[in-house]
């Protein structure tokens, strides 16, 4: 019996040492996971996830303080990508944070703008150009559709405009389900 115990103990020690050595010697310095999570998020900076921007949300996910299904602009694709990255199960989008809607941008109705700069201060990506008492306008290409500029506007002159599909951005649809193929 003692030989058995001794043999197993010796094996355990040897393999433990080997594994410990391998863990240190072959350790791979990877990207911090926060950067990887942030790379998946859509960078709308809208705050619907309850965090002030995508980076804080990424940090919260990494710390385990937030779930992966709190990002409406990201939608299913983002949830799936986060699930793959972190090895967790994908969850349906948490509707408390909003719905996944089509892509939108905002437009300022120039006739009504009073040049108060409140929207400029609110925009997280500096997509509004203007100055005090000067005309404000939205750079459409840079607008992420976060809608944070709409509440501060005192004259309600910012409207949401859906981004229409054009020939350059049209996508072939996923083929309809094959007969009997409900997977």
């Amino acid at each position: 019996m003692f030989t058995a115990i001794f043999a197993l103990l010796a094996l355990a020690i040897v393999f433990g040492l080997l594994l410990g050595y391998a863990a240190i010697r072959f350790k791979v310095e990877g990207d911090p996971v926060v950067d990887k999570i942030d790379a998946i998020l859509p960078q709308t900076q809208c705050g619907q996830c309850t965090y002030p921007g995508c980076r804080p949300y990424a940090e919260a996910i990494a710390k385990g303080e937030a779930e992966i299904n709190q990002c409406p602009p990201g939608g299913e694709a983002t949830i799936q990508a986060l699930a793959d990255l972190l090895g967790r199960d994908p969850l349906p989008l948490n509707e408390e944070h909003g719905e996944h809607k089509g892509k939108t941008v905002v437009q300022i109705l120039e006739e009504q703008c009073i040049g108060c700069t409140l929207c400029i201060q609110a925009c997280p990506v500096d997509a509004i150009v203007g100055a005090a008492k000067q005309m404000h306008t939205v750079i459409e290409d840079e607008c992420t559709g976060c809608n944070l500029c709409i509440p501060p506007c005192p004259v309600d002159c910012i409207v949401i405009v859906p981004v229409e599909e054009d020939l350059q951005h049209w996508k072939w649809p996923y083929p309809a389900a094959a007969a009997g193929d409900k997977i």
């Binding site: 859509p42 960078q43 054009d166 649809p173 083929p175 094959a178 007969a179 193929d181």
Partner: protein
């Protein structure tokens, strides 16, 4: 015709349905009342209009200039007045409209004065290329790549051979065959000009062997005219898709050019025979690209044939020449690679080679893939369509690229043979556009992240600057009131000193030890007197 030929893997032998539309020479289509010119009829950026609503234009006049370095010009194909620059339906599988210049034709058909270069063999190649660019010529074989860009050799490299693509491998389409039959000399003349423009050494014209009349016509033209570069007419076996650029190159030269490289890298350039004719017209007659041959055919049409059509003609106008019933399927292009449209108000553009009318087809429902690998046995790109299908279905866009999704030329051979009737090509197209879209989204997101980070930095910087400014302002204020900083400080110090002394006195009073041992005689006398007074008060109360 004893040029050594190679074979490419896969491919199909299809019923070619060509004789139906080759019974007569091409007819000239009467002018339509309105001509509609989409600004994007080519690969690259859309053209920029150079006319405004109300302008009168002449036939051959440039109405839109190239919108970038990879773009092409657009010319009016008849004289008239610009009545609109607005969104109109265009021939595209999505059915989405796009910006078009709309011209109402007067019936005069007056042409603009044109400059010709009859002496082309002594022209500088750059001059010829510019002439081709100014004529708005793009690849007429279907893709629409601006031709002049393809003619510029990579610095340090020489273009050996021009390959003229007269294969026309898709069933039903015969416009190139008729072009070669009726304008053989122009085809060869165009080839000659192209060789001069590229400084190519020779030209090979590849034609599938199901077009004997076209081959004969070209041979005859070769014999009876003088050309400045050696041109060889080569008959190749009829297999779909021999007309694919890389497949034809393999057959004629044996070179296998992967999707990541260009034929230019091995000194080859491939052009369609229609493009060659357009080049000849542009250089020798000064006529920009304003018309092309279009085949109208299909089992649901009577009297199929080819038409010489002015660009911008609504498809409806073309179909009106044949009695076409509603409810038929209208396919632009061929049955293997074309697309369906619903709205025949869309116009014929530079890349429209065929309008195919077929009786309505009931799509057979797809059943699960049985892994028979028939698809792989016919794929000319030597891919594994089955694997591409599985990964596209699973929306696994990383794995699908491992199987070379972007090498797929969307020829349709795989879906043609699939016994389960799976719409394979649609899966691949879906995957490709999805991947491109995600790329663009990612770039946009990266830009947004940068801007956000700068925004945060900017706000922080502003905060710091504001604090600094406030501090400086305060200092200025103090100075203005005559007090220096040190004075203010010493006054503060005096006040503080006084406060401290007061506090010390208070503490001294209250911080005396409460211990009744070791009392000072004075303290003891005070205590005794106080105690006596208390007793007296008590007794008095009682």
């Amino acid at each position: 015709m004893r040029h050594p030929l190679s074979k490419f893997f896969g491919g199909l032998h299809l019923d070619d349905h060509k004789s139906e539309s080759m019974q007569q020479v091409p007819r000239v289509l009467p002018l339509a009342k309105q001509l509609i010119f989409p600004l994007n009829q080519h690969i690259g950026l859309p053209a920029d209009p150079v006319v405004s609503i109300g302008d009168k234009v002449l036939k051959g006049q440039m109405i839109a200039r190239p919108g970038g370095s990879i773009s092409a010009a657009i010319h009016a194909s008849s004289s008239g007045e610009v009545i609109a620059i607005e969104e109109r339906p265009v021939s595209h599988p999505s059915g989405i409209s796009a910006t078009c210049i709309v011209i109402a034709t007067d019936d005069e058909d007056t042409a603009i004065d044109a400059s010709v270069l009859t002496d082309y063999e002594n022209c500088e190649p750059a001059m010829l290329r510019d002439s081709i660019r100014d004529a708005g010529i793009v690849g007429l074989g279907g893709a629409g790549f601006p031709t002049f860009i393809k003619l510029k050799p990579t610095p340090g490299k020489v273009i050996e051979t021009l390959i003229l693509n007269g294969a026309e491998c898709e069933p039903y389409i015969t416009c190139d065959a008729m072009l070669m039959q009726t304008r053989a000399e122009d085809v060869l003349r165009g080839a000659d000009i192209l060789c001069q423009a590229m400084q190519a050494r020779q030209c090979l014209v590849g034609i599938e062997d199901n077009k004997p009349a076209a081959i004969a016509a070209l041979q005859a033209a070769l014999q009876s005219h003088q050309f400045h570069h050696p041109i060889e007419i080569v008959s190749v076996p009829t297999i779909y898709p021999t007309g694919g650029e890389r497949q034809l190159i393999k057959v004629l030269t044996g070179h296998e050019i992967s999707a990541q490289r260009r034929p230019l890298d091995v000194g080859l350039v491939c052009q369609n025979v229609g493009t060659a004719v357009a080049v000849a017209d542009a250089v020798l007659k000064g006529q920009p690209l304003i018309e092309r041959l279009v085949t109208v055919t299909g089992s649901a049409i009577k009297n199929p044939g080819n038409w010489v059509v002015r660009l911008g003609t609504p498809i409806q106008h073309l179909l009106a020449q044949h009695a076409v019933e509603a409810n038929n399927d209208i396919i632009i292009g061929g049955p293997m690679m074309g697309f369906t449209i619903d709205n025949t108000q869309a116009a014929i553009v530079k890349t429209t080679n065929c309008v195919l009318i077929q009786p309505p087809q009931i799509t057979k429902p797809a059943i699960p893939c049985i892994r028979c690998a028939e698809c792989a046995s016919v794929c000319p790109a030597q891919l594994l369509p089955q694997q591409l299908y599985w990964h596209a279905r699973a929306k696994d866009f990383d794995k699908i690229q491992d199987y070379n999704l972007f090498d797929c030329i969307e020829c349709g051979c795989c879906a043609h043979v699939c016994p389960s009737h799976i719409p394979l090509v649609q899966y691949y197209r879906f995957a490709k556009t999805e991947i491109w879209d995600r790329e663009q989204e990612k770039q946009k997101a990266d830009r947004a992240r940068e801007r956000h980070e700068f925004n945060l930095y900017r706000q922080q910087r502003k905060q710091q600057e504001d604090e600094e400014r406030r501090r400086k302002k305060k200092e200025l204020l103090n100075r203005a009131q005559g007090k220096t900083v040190s004075e203010t400080d010493s006054k503060k110090a005096a006040i503080e000193g006084a406060l401290a002394r007061a506090k010390a006195r208070k503490d001294a009073m209250t911080s005396a030890p409460k211990n009744i041992d070791h009392l000072a005689p004075e303290q003891q006398r005070q205590i005794d007197e106080a105690e006596a007074r208390r007793h007296k008060q008590k007794q008095d109360k009682v």
